[in-house]
Amino acid sequence: MRLFGIVIWAALLAAVLAVGCAQDSREEHGPGTTESLSTVPESQARQEMAPKEETARASAPGGETAEGEAAEASFTAAPEMNGGSEGAADGIREVRFGKYEGYERAVVEFDSGAAPASQVPVWSLSSPTGEGYARISFPGLDSASETEGVFGSSILDNFYVVRAPGRGMFVDIFAAGAFQYRVTELSDPGRLVLDYRPASVDLSFPIPVQTNRTVLFEPREGEAITSPLRVSGYSRNFEASNAMVLRDPRGNVLAQETVLSNDWTETWGYFEASLEFPAFEGQATLGVGTGSPRDGSFEGVEIPVTYGGG
C-alpha cells in the first residue's frame, strides 16, 4: 500500500514536470504561418501567456465583467457574451494565433487611428451551440488590416474579417469541431483574447462551405430547405456580385438571384437574399458565387439540399 502511494506521488510529480515543459515549448503562430514565440516582443508574449498579470477583464456569460478575475475565467459554451469600451478603436489591426496546453488562443488587436488601440472596443460574441464557430461583432470598427487567415490547428481552423450589414465589422472564427471558449480583454495595447478547447460533443450542423472567395453561411450542406429560403454569406467576388442558383436533380433552374455584397475590395463583404422556389423531389443543388471575371466559368460553392416541405 505504501509502495502504491509512492508510485502515485511519483506519477503526479512527472505530470507536473511534463506540463511545465509543455508550457515552455508553447508557440505563437500568425495566420497561416508558424512563428516562434521568440519573435514576439518579450513583454507582449508575457502578457498573452499570463493574462492575470494584466489589467484584464474577463467576461462572464451574460455580459458581466469582473475586474481582475481573468485567471478565474472558466471555459463556457454560452451562446452570447459581450464587453468592450465605446470608441476605443476604429479598425482591426491583427488576428494572431497561439497554441497552449489543452487550449488554443486567437488574439485580436485593434487600431485607433494609425496607432494600436489601448483598449478593446465594444464587442459582442455569438456562438450557437454545436455550430463550430464564434462570431465576434464590433459595431464601432470600419477597417481591417488583416482580412482572413488559416490557423490550421487541431481546434482552431481559420477566420474571416467581414463588413457587417448596417455598420461595423465582424470576425468569424471557425473551429474544427465543437468547442468551449473563454474571453479575456487585455489593455495597452487593447486585445481581445479568445481561448478555445474542444468539447466532447458532435456538431449539430456542418461548418459552412468555404472557397477562395465565397463563404456560404446559410443554408448548410445537406439541409432540408423550405421556400422562401434565406441565403447568406460573405465573399470577395468581383464588383461585389454574388449569384445564387437552385437547380433540381435534372439541372433545371428552380430559383436564381444576383445580389451585391457590401464590400469586396477592402475585406469580405456580407450578402443575403431570399429565394422562392417550388416543391421538388430528390437532391437539389444550390450554387452561390459568381462568373469568373476571366472567362465566365462558375467560381463559388455548391451544396446539396433537399426539400423540407411547407
Binding site: F238, S241, A243, W264, T265, E266, S292, P293, D295, G296
Partner: protein, 174 residues
C-alpha cells in the same frame, strides 16, 4: 481638362493574362465598369494574388486620377467573357452603382479623355457599339443574359451615358 495625371500600380500577375495586343488580339472595344468600392481598395485588391480579377485602368472619383493596373498589351480579367476580355480595355470607376454622388464631372472628364485617347490609339469607333457598359457584355453561358457570366449591372442607371459619350467625342475632336 486641367492636365492628365496618372500612375502605374501593377496588378499581381495571377490576375491577368499576358499577351501582345494589338498584334496578338484585336482591341476594338472599351468596357465601362463601376467598382462597387473605393479607388484605392480596388487598386490594392488587384495587386493581391487571390483577387482573380483586374482592370486596365481605375479612375478616382474626387479628382479623376488614373491608376493603371494592367498594361494595355495584356488581357485584364474584368468582363466575365473571355472573348470580350481579349478584345477590350476595361476601365473601372470608383463608386457604387446606386449612388450617383460618386460620378463626379471630374471623373467623367478624365475617363472620357482616356477613352478618347484609347479610341484614337487603337482605331476604335466612338459609338455605343464599341464603348459599352459591363452590363452589355454577353453572358458566355446564357445567350439570353448580359453583364458577363456574373450578370453584372454596372455602370448602372446613374451613369450618364449621354454626357460621357459627348465628352469622349469632344476629346476625340469628332
Amino acid at each position: 481638362m486641367a492636365g492628365t495625371y496618372y500612375a502605374y500600380y501593377p496588378a499581381n500577375s495571377n490576375n491577368y493574362t499576358g499577351a501582345n495586343r494589338p498584334n496578338s488580339h484585336l482591341v476594338d472595344k472599351i468596357i465601362i465598369h463601376v467598382a462597387q468600392g473605393s479607388w484605392s481598395s480596388a487598386i490594392n485588391w488587384f495587386q493581391n494574388s487571390y483577387a482573380g480579377a483586374s482592370a486596365h485602368y481605375t479612375i478616382r472619383s474626387s479628382d479623376g486620377f488614373i491608376g493603371q493596373s494592367v498594361l494595355e498589351r495584356n488581357i485584364a480579367w474584368h468582363a466575365g467573357n473571355w472573348y470580350y476580355n481579349q478584345t477590350s480595355i476595361g476601365i473601372e470607376h470608383e463608386g457604387f452603382v446606386d449612388n450617383p454622388a460618386w460620378f463626379t464631372d471630374t471623373m467623367y472628364d478624365y475617363s472620357s479623355w482616356l477613352t478618347a485617347w484609347l479610341c484614337y490609339k487603337y482605331g476604335i469607333p466612338i459609338d455605343r457599339y464599341h464603348i459599352i457598359g459591363h452590363y452589355e457584355v454577353p453572358d458566355p453561358y446564357d445567350r439570353t443574359s448580359y453583364g458577363g457570366a456574373g450578370n453584372h449591372t454596372d455602370p448602372g442607371l446613374n451613369w450618364d451615358w449621354y454626357k460621357y459619350m459627348s465628352w469622349v467625342a469632344y476629346y476625340a475632336g469628332v
